[in-house]
């Protein structure tokens, strides 16, 4: 079915790198395509000679970024933050968007379908990436812009040029289809970058990491997946083994905004045996991830996210074993009546108020428990019995232990939880703080 205005249908973002890629750097362009997937999963690579870039079909996703102009601004600021010099432009056709990035001055704003027929006439022919001989020929007949070229007869041009010029012009204006092969989303992310110079600097490494994280985030958005753990290895000169760093998050996430600050903490504590030459980031996206459903009450979801971020940050610096939540165990033996848990129960505990669980323990318990019972003689003070005894026996399945627990007090007012063994020895086991 022919549409009334086929020109008016599309919205394509083109990003073209300003620097030429080195030989055999297909991986870099591929990584760049992954980065562009944050805007749309339909990304294809364009490479003509040394000029490489990507085009992305953003017609369906532009509204998620607040419109085409906002998307363009976002792309520019993202690229600037990553330190990539590239030109961005938007047009109704992929060839048009690409040509805009290659024309002398890419425009600040998106060219809409209404303005496109007029605008494309002023494009220089050089932006169409024609072979040099074609450009020379067209210049010799006085044609340097797209406009006059459109007025010429298509058949004649095709006979005289190497490139299929009439097809390209039709694709440029949008009157002919321009099928593009989309980049396939890889199942896992594995990218490495060779650094230009060896470095010890954590900030320099962080900068490179940020670039790879930008690509990873694009992949996650492109495939609708999330990330919970990430492996980074730092390669050194030959005789040293790679330094590995594993970053684990409390909850799978798609947005990696919080990751650089976590990485900074980890990097500042990492000790390298030698300067770093290469950096490799590996991650496997979780595809069965469901975005957090919005909560009924505003704020609850935000609190859970903030909690996860706090736990991630604390863990990054203090280590996983130093950040715990507390729990009780139904056991009458004091040493076994508690446990600690991984601090990732944020989601469960944020589900609103919970009634305080009733303790199974009847007797008085101290707020501080010593890691091991200590002989009472080691703790200075004149101790007097205030309360007790409470007999606690170990289970018959263990070596039998019988303890009579007392609350002791000294003249300074300190209160101690101590027990006496059947042999008459006193041990301190906790403080009533």
């Amino acid at each position: 079915m022919a549409r009334a205005q086929p020109e008016a249908s599309g919205a394509w973002l083109a990003v073209t790198l300003e620097h030429a890629l080195a030989e055999g750097s297909a991986a870099e362009l591929e990584g760049f395509a992954l980065w562009a997937m944050r805007y749309s999963p339909l990304v294809s690579v364009c490479q003509t000679g040394a000029v490489s870039g990507v085009v992305a079909d953003v017609a369906a996703s532009a509204h998620l970024f607040g419109g085409l102009d906002a998307l363009l601004d976002d792309a520019r600021s993202q690229l600037q933050a990553l330190g990539v010099s590239a030109r961005c432009a938007g047009a109704p056709t992929p060839r048009g968007a690409r040509a805009l990035t290659l024309s002398i001055q890419p425009l600040k704003c998106w060219i809409g379908p209404a303005a496109w027929p007029q605008h494309l006439r002023q494009l220089p022919l050089a932006a169409l990436e024609l072979p040099a001989s074609d450009l020379e020929f067209l210049a010799s007949i006085g044609v340097r812009q797209v406009g006059p070229c459109l007025d010429l007869s298509g058949g004649d041009l095709d006979r005289r040029c190497q490139a299929p010029l009439s097809l390209w012009l039709a694709q440029l204006s949008g009157s002919a289809p321009d099928p593009r092969r989309s980049v396939q989303v890889p199942e896992h992310f594995d990218r490495s970058i060779e650094l230009l110079t060896e470095t010890w600097h954590s900030e320099a490494l962080l900068f490179v990491c940020k670039r790879l994280l930008g690509e990873l985030e694009g992949l996650l958005r492109g495939c609708g997946g999330a990330l919970q753990s990430l492996n980074i290895s730092f390669g050194h000169a030959h005789e040293h083994p790679d330094t590995a760093l594993e970053l684990r998050l409390t909850r799978p996430t798609q947005s990696l905004d919080a990751l650089p600050s976590l990485l900074r903490e980890r990097l500042s504590r990492l000790e390298f045996p030698a300067p770093v030459r290469r950096l490799r980031v590996r991650a496997i996206p979780q595809l069965d991830w469901q975005p957090q459903r919005p909560e009924l009450w505003p704020g609850a979801e935000e609190t859970a996210v903030n909690r996860d971020q706090l736990v991630d940050r604390l863990r990054a610096r203090l280590g996983d074993s130093a950040v715990r939540t507390l729990g009780a165990q139904a056991d009458h033996r004091p040493e076994h009546a508690w446990q600690t848990n991984e601090a990732n129960l944020a989601a469960a505990s944020s589900r609103g108020r919970r009634a305080a669980a009733v303790s199974a323990v009847r007797g008085l318990r101290p707020i501080w428990l010593m890691p091991e019972p200590q002989p009472l003689s080691r703790i200075a003070g004149e101790w007097q019995e205030e309360r007790g005894p409470e007999r606690i026996e170990s289970g018959w399945w263990q070596s039998p232990v019988m303890r009579d627990y007392y609350v002791l007090r000294d003249p300074r007012g300190r209160r101690l939880w101590a027990f006496r063994t059947p042999a008459g020895d006193w041990f301190a086991h906790g403080w009533f703080a």
Binding site: R317, V361, R365, F432
Partner: protein, 203 residues
């Protein structure tokens, strides 16, 4: 009285004798009657540092804040315990009404890490209270914690030895806990926006 003078008198920093101090900050009821009566606003100040000085472990310095901690945890707020000297014993906390899942136990290796952890927990705004054992905290460190508590709207409790009483403090409330051998005594050494009492009170 002219309008200009009136506006000056409205300023929160101006206090006139006989006038009840104005409440400008949120408070958290301590759950201990005598203490609530003495603290300005009727409770521990939220978004500020409360310093508790104890003359030794085991005289009831933690149980002073435990009722407030228990209530925060029942409201679904987190409470971070930064570098406590021993294990906060879960059965005892449960007996005090604390919801254990909301307790975050942080064991940093160094004083610098402890300060950092306390500041991060305060600033994130997700912790209702942060209890930090910082024996070596200096004026600058406490000032940082005070700013972080203000930013996060969280209650920061710093527990230290009573030797620190001779140093100046930026904390909003400074309490000294001692004991006469039988009863715990609590003395308010400093409280912002209230009257300091000069004798210890049993609580």
């Amino acid at each position: 009285m002219n309008a200009q003078l009136q506006s000056v008198l409205q300023h929160p920093a101006v206090w006139r004798p006989g006038q009840q101090p104005q409440r400008h900050h949120a408070v958290l009821r301590s759950g201990i009657g005598v203490l609530d009566d003495s603290l300005p606003g009727g409770g521990w100040p939220v978004g500020a540092v409360t310093e508790i000085l104890a003359s030794g472990t085991g005289i009831g310095e933690v149980s002073l804040v435990l009722p407030a901690v228990a209530r925060l945890s029942q409201q679904g707020r987190w409470v971070a315990w930064v570098a406590p000297p021993h294990l906060p014993y879960p059965p005892a906390l449960q007996q005090a009404g604390v919801v254990l899942e909301q307790m975050l136990w942080l064991k940093p290796d160094s004083h610098a890490d402890a300060l950092w952890a306390a500041e991060q927990s305060l600033r994130s705004g997700t912790c209702g209270a942060v209890l930090a054992w910082l024996p070596d905290a200096d004026h600058t460190a406490l000032r940082r914690l005070q700013l972080a508590a203000e930013a996060g709207g969280s209650w920061c409790v710093v527990l230290r030895d009573s030797d620190a009483a001779t140093h100046a403090t930026p904390a909003a409330v400074r309490v000294k806990v001692a004991s006469d051998g039988l009863r715990r005594q609590v003395q308010l050494l400093k409280c912002r926006g209230g009257m300091v009492q000069y004798g210890p009170r049993a609580a």
